[in-house]
């Protein structure tokens, strides 16, 4: 396992590396050193533009750039993209389905010390509600690179969700094949299907190991594309396992848990337990105790799986 790296860092590195291969420009809202688009800026100073602290303008402005046939990446914190600039994204980018790539960093509780105002646990909900928006929440640095390249080669608005926290690498760059909209079965299993996204994918894999001691064989599926959801894979694993746990660093309302419940309710009713922020605001703190406090650890996922499996009997 490689050194730990935050997906925001991997995002900045991906932009810098892919900048040689593809023609795109990058905009940031006075956070380039935090969103890591600054890595791209260093290599391509003529293709990186600061918009200042004005996220609404940045989104609609990027729509104008995209309308001329160019590919703009726009970056800020998830809170100020999917939150503050929701309406410009909805009306200037989403409605005309313009080719803008939104790289939103500092999503979720793992922002840590900055606290509730900056811990966006609502972005998947707001972005999911925009017709035609593609949402990708990578689980590690390798997947981030692949997602950025896939977003460049895909026509349409894409919301990419990145984290602040340095996390272990799950994938092998040489062999990993990423496809927008296709979930990845990281570990097969038969007793319960864990659908996880982003930071929680690594925790789900840890939970699977913990559950072996209980004789539980849990499947771990990485849903990197929260929208469009891989309905087929979700339904097939729900049917196979008969129990589902979702795991995300987001409010249990409106994110992956909701998306999975929606498709299962319509297509393959299956009991679901949701690991996520339980409709409360975050708070300041170091990340490990925060994840513990908000119920977002491997232990919490494992406990939910045990409950799900017990309920089957």
């Amino acid at each position: 396992m490689a050194d730990k790296i935050a997906t925001r860092e991997a995002y900045g590195m991906a932009l810098a590396e892919l900048g040689d291969k593809y023609d795109f420009v990058v905009f940031d809202a006075d956070l380039a050193s935090a969103t890591k688009t600054g890595i791209f800026k260093k290599k391509f100073p003529d293709r990186h533009f600061d918009c200042g602290i004005a996220e609404g303008n940045m989104m609609s402005m990027a729509a104008g750039v995209a309308s001329t046939g160019r590919i703009p990446f726009v970056s800020t914190f998830a809170m100020f993209a999917a939150g503050r600039a929701f309406e410009p994204i909805r009306n200037s980018i989403g409605y005309p389905h313009l080719n803008v790539k939104i790289g939103a960093t500092h999503a979720g509780i793992s922002v840590g010390e900055d606290g509730a105002t900056h811990q966006c646990c609502e972005d998947l909900a707001t972005m999911r509600s925009i017709p035609g928006m593609t949402i990708i929440n990578p689980a590690d640095a390798i997947e981030t690179f692949a997602a950025v390249e896939a977003a460049i080669n895909f026509y349409g608005p894409v919301y990419m969700r990145f984290g602040r926290l340095a996390i272990p690498t799950i994938y092998d760059k040489a062999t990993y094949k990423f496809e927008i909209g296709k979930g990845v079965v990281l570990a097969d299993g038969k007793d319960c299907a864990i659908f996880a996204t982003g930071l929680l994918v690594g925790f789900a894999l840890e939970a699977r190991e913990l559950l072996k001691a209980d004789g539980i064989d849990a499947a771990v599926i990485n849903i990197h594309t929260v929208k469009p959801l891989d309905n087929e894979l979700v339904c097939s694993y729900a049917a196979k396992c008969g129990a589902v746990v979702t795991a995300e660093e987001h409010n249990i309302i409106g994110g992956l848990g909701s998306a999975v419940c929606e498709t299962l309710a319509e297509n393959c009713p299956t009991p679901v337990r949701r690991i996520g922020v339980r409709d409360v605001f975050g708070r300041s703190g170091k990340v490990p105790p925060l994840l513990e406090m908000y119920g977002l650890t491997a232990g919490h996922i494992a406990a939910a799986v045990r409950e799900s499996v017990a309920a089957k009997k």
């Binding site: 293709r47 609404g56 303008n57 940045m58 609609s60 104008g64 309308s67 410009p88 005309p96």
Partner: protein
Amino acid sequence: MDQAKIKELKRLSAEIKLGALEAVWSASSGHPGGSLSISDILAYLYFVEMKIDPKNPNWEDRDRFVLSKGHTAPAYYAALALRGYFPREDLKTFRQVDSYLQGHPDMKGTPGVDMTTGSLGLGISAAAGMAMSGKIYNKDYRVYAMLGDGELGEGQVWEAAMFSAHYKLDNLCAFVDWNGLQIDGPITEVMDSTPIDKKFEAFGWHVISIDAHDFEQIAAALEEAKTVKGQPTVIIAKSIKGKGVSYMENQVSWHGAAPNNEQYEQGVKEINTYIASLN
């Protein structure tokens, strides 16, 4: 500009007004007041100023126009129809469920519409983005935008104003349709956006003030804008809301109301009388 040309522009503007009125009347909804106040500028932009090709609406190097005050789509659609982007007769489908003429401009559905707008404050940002792209990729097209005076209440307008000056977008020229009225009343009572000129000046724009209904002033302002280097230009165009239809002029109530049959006929008659007077 010679008198024949001015006369022709006046006729075109009147035709835009007839089209806008017909669209709003057919839909029994829409925004006539602010459509009539911008008809002269639209006529000049679409029939004189802009480098466009109605046969190739997506031509990469074309000049762009963004109707930031998107609710005045009736005049916009009429101008586009008259310029040849789509049939004039389609104006009567405005706001109907099977029409491509949406209540507010939809770039994906309507030929000639360069940007989807309607939510106030967003269009000027998009126009700045088009201008920015032109600068980044060394294109020489120009970008025009039309703001409302009430729209200036949106904070994003000023974000866009700051951005455009910061990046020296001298390929961007915005108009402010200063008709003095917004939905709830005169702007000076609802939310005073004046002094408009001093605000833009303070934001680093080149400011020109004109009479929105004087073609020589429109022409001169647009010529001046093209000579300005290193700054975006705003043309503050003092206008009459409802211009050309006597009972609509300077009436807040005609911001977003459709004329009934009698009112429509009277409006058409007044405009046709005006057109006849030009000959």
